[in-house]
């Protein structure tokens, strides 16, 4: 090749210059749109300034090149010679500017990355905050449900223990370290005889009858931390004592210091009564056995004495002194035999019938027999019989004897007063399935000290010759033989008013025969 034509270079340069201007402005347009869309984005800002500088450089260079070609085409070499350094200088200046802007990218990108990091961390923090808020909301919701559930449980538990506290038949109380009673249930106030409505402010000192027992209670409670089944006597409102069984647990505060006690108290009156009745029953049983033995031993010699006395009476006239003496022997021997027969009845050694018996009929028979003599002493007889009373199984004659004994005793108790009221009551106690017959008088009553002995054989308060002291013993034996009980109440407590009235009431309680059982037996 001998030469290289520069015409392609001229053409390329001219077209290229135009293209460069167009392309640089198109790039600048999109850079402008980018910063318009996201003005806060530093990276787009950098690209915009880069494109702007590049467009300036492109105009400078392309214009210079085009001008050069135009001037040289038109033969104005001199003009180009003057313009050339200016155009070259401008090109250099804009190229350096473009390079500077490019270098500045470093800072731009750092800023952008910093912002990005910050934005990312903020977004993460926001996301975490949202998650935490959701969790918190969930927990809050769950917490509300839990609180509601626990409150219901607590309420049910509180109700349960409140019912136990209120409905307990035993005394329950809470006291503080100074023995002051903080709370006591109604049963406790009732047990001590205090009014349930507006009860007084009590201290343990008020309810312990004996100071020694209170001291002992304190010592044991503080040393052991609890007390189990301590038998003490409490003082009732009226000053009388009541035997109780006390169990208590000491309570302590957060510093483990004694702060009081929780206690449950059981009334022992009923148990003690039962114990006394049991002891009496045991005693009566042993006395009955002894009486049966004695009766058997005496019965034979009495029979012999009576037999020989009656034989001898045939040998003497009744008017003669020996005849009269023999008559006395015969009479007294018969009296002895009656006593022996009574003893045997008491000890249940004698035969008895078993049939369905109406207590109402027996009571009416007894009233019919005794009413005349009662009226003679101005004693009024009252009847309070429950109709349709279930029958009891027993011996009519022996049961009649029991009620006759009781009516006679009542008669004797009211005899000296010159007047009185005898009340015969019959009723059915469905809770124990017993027929209860009551013989109640308004006599002088039975003193407390002899009440435990009234059923003892040969115990009597009547003058000599008026009673053998076997009436109640025999009655006791007969009722026991019928599977029943005798309870005595003196003075008598009015069921409605609760007031106590002078007199005595004997309650005979016999097991009732249900209609079905009676029909089967028939």
């Amino acid at each position: 090749m001998t030469y290289l034509p520069l015409s392609p270079a001229i053409i390329t340069d001219m077209i290229g210059s135009l293209c460069i201007i167009v392309l640089s402005f198109l790039a600048l347009r999109y850079a402008w749109l980018l910063i318009r869309k996201q003005p806060e984005n530093f990276l787009w800002g950098f690209l915009f300034y880069f494109c702007l500088t590049l467009a300036t450089f492109a105009i400078s260079r392309a214009t210079g090149h085009l001008l050069k070609h135009i001037l040289l085409f038109s033969g104005n070499q001199e003009a180009w010679r003057i313009i050339n350094p200016i155009s070259g200088g401008a090109n250099t200046l804009f190229m350096i500017s473009l390079a500077s802007v490019t270098i500045y990218y470093h800072k731009g990108i750092e800023g952008y990355q910093a912002i990005n990091r910050k934005a990312k961390s903020l977004k993460e923090a926001y996301d975490q905050l949202e998650i935490a808020a959701d969790q918190l909301q969930g927990m809050n919701l769950h917490l509300e449900e839990m609180v509601e559930e626990r409150t219901l449980e607590l309420s049910a538990s509180e109700k349960k223990f409140r019912n136990l506290f209120n409905n307990s038949k035993d005394m329950v109380f809470f006291s503080d370290a100074t023995n002051h009673l903080l709370t006591m249930n109604n049963a406790g106030f009732e047990m001590l005889g205090y009014p349930v409505e507006g009860p007084p402010d009590l201290n343990l000192v008020d309810i312990f009858k004996n100071e020694d027992e209170l001291e002992s209670y304190h010592n044991v409670l503080r040393s052991q931390g609890f007390i189990e089944d301590l038998e003490v006597e409490f003082a009732k409102m009226d000053g009388t004592g009541i035997s109780v069984l006390l169990s208590a647990t000491a309570t302590y505060d957060e510093n483990n210091k004694f702060s009081g006690c929780d206690a449950i108290v059981k009334d022992l009156t009923r148990i003690k009564t039962m114990m006394a009745q049991l002891a009496a029953s045991e005693k009566m049983a042993s006395v009955g056995q002894m009486a049966a033995g004695v009766a058997h031993e005496i019965n034979t010699p009495l029979g012999v004495i009576l037999g020989y006395a009656q034989l001898m009476m045939d040998d003497f006239s009744p008017e003669s002194e020996p005849g009269q003496n023999l008559a006395i022997i015969e009479r007294q021997t018969k009296a002895c035999r009656k006593i022996v027969a009574d003893l045997l009845k008491f000890s249940r050694q004698s035969e008895s019938a078993r049939e369905d018996v109406s207590i109402n009929e027996i009571l009416m028979d007894v009233i019919a027999v005794t009413q005349h003599s009662l009226n003679m002493d101005h004693i009024n007889v009252h009847q309070d019989f429950t109709q349709d009373l279930p029958p009891v199984v027993g011996d009519t004659e022996r049961l009649r004897q029991v009620f006759v004994n009781l009516v006679n005793n009542a008669h004797h108790a009211m005899e000296q007063q010159g007047s009185g009221d005898l009340t015969m009551i019959s009723r059915y106690d469905s809770t124990t399935n017993e027929v209860v017959a009551t013989v109640q008088d308004t006599g002088h009553g039975i003193p407390e000290k002899i009440r435990a002995r009234i059923f003892d054989p040969f115990f009597t308060t009547k003058s000599v010759g008026k009673g053998t002291g076997l009436g109640l013993s025999v009655s006791y034996g007969i009722i026991q033989d019928h599977g029943g009980r005798i309870e005595v109440e003196s003075p008598v407590t009015n069921k409605q008013s609760g007031e106590k009235a002078q007199g005595t009431a004997f309650h005979i309680k016999l097991p009732a025969v249900l209609a079905e059982a009676a029909s089967v037996r028939e």
Partner: protein, 156 residues
Amino acid sequence: MNITRKFNIFALLLPLALLLAPNQAWALQVHAPPEGIYIHQLAHLFFAAALSYLFWDVRRSAFPGKGWRYLQIFCVLMILWNILAFSGHWLGFHIDNADIIRSDGYFSSHIIGPISAIKFIYFCATLDHLLSVPALLFLFLCMRSLYRSIDKEEKK
């Protein structure tokens, strides 16, 4: 006379002395003719270095999307353009004015033979738009791609 006063007088006299006797001070430098081309060449190098840094940093940052790949291509092409332009300017010193004949007008200008490597490279350097135009095309594509991706994201 205290030290502050002495300093104030010195500060007033120094600019005056520089104005009155400039030849004695080395503050003024005469810029001889080749300086312009040197500065231009240094500017090419500076621009190429700046583009290299931009290319490296964009690549290192691994921004996602086509736009950033187009920007890298733009950087590479513009670096090559800078090298070509730098070479063209440099080789221009080694070509005599007599080697370019314009006897039949400007458009019929040509480099006379024998064609050496220098002359051929110089000729190629005059075709530098074959690099710069595609470079600018990729810059345009880059900006358009970035804009469209942002627009698309926003429309979501």
